[in-house]
């Protein structure tokens, strides 16, 4: 296997570990943090898969769109929790 394939395996392992935090996380903030890490790992994974398949011109556009959607979703959920969880004992 080439170095790129091993890097892909490692990034997939990191994605699975961060999804474990999404399953375990005691609070909703932990789950959102794990989802953000998993999204960043998915962006890297899309670029690496494009490099492995030799269709890099297609996959890099998907990765760019995925990064933007990841940022927007995380920011929206953070602002929503900001509004709703204020002044609640936790």
């Amino acid at each position: 296997m080439s170095v790129t394939a091993w890097i892909t395996v490692t990034v997939t392992l990191g994605l699975i570990l961060s999804l474990l935090r999404v399953l375990k996380g005691p609070t909703v903030f932990d789950r959102m943090l794990g989802l953000g890490v998993a999204g960043t790992n998915a962006v890297i994974l899309i670029c690496l898969v494009g490099h492995l398949y030799g269709r890099f011109d297609m996959f890099v556009d998907i990765a760019l769109a995925y990064a933007m959607l990841n940022f927007g979703g995380g920011l929206v959920v953070a602002r929503y929790l900001d509004r709703t969880r204020r002044n609640e004992p936790r």
Binding site: V3, P26, F29, T40, V43, A67, F71, L75, L81, R90
Partner: protein, 104 residues
Amino acid sequence: MMAYVADTLMILGAALLLIGAVGLLRLPDFYCRTHAATKPDTLGLVLILLGLAIHDGLTLNTVKMLTIILFVFLANPTSSHALGRAAILGRLVPWTPDRREDRR
């Protein structure tokens, strides 16, 4: 020669990602996990995508990949800062060594 540079960058980035994921699982509370999650993640993405860009040579794809790097470099700290602000405003108390019931 450039292939070795690219491989070294990508291996460093993958090691950072793995360390960040382990820290995300092992650290005791949300604020510590924010520390472990965001910084190695951003730097790992920058290193791995720079390695891929060096592998492929200078094309239009390299410019798109530099756009991804710049965007994530700005967006990832913003997103985690908004999440930490929401946690502080939501009265999530930080972990201290003598109060261990949050460790899960």
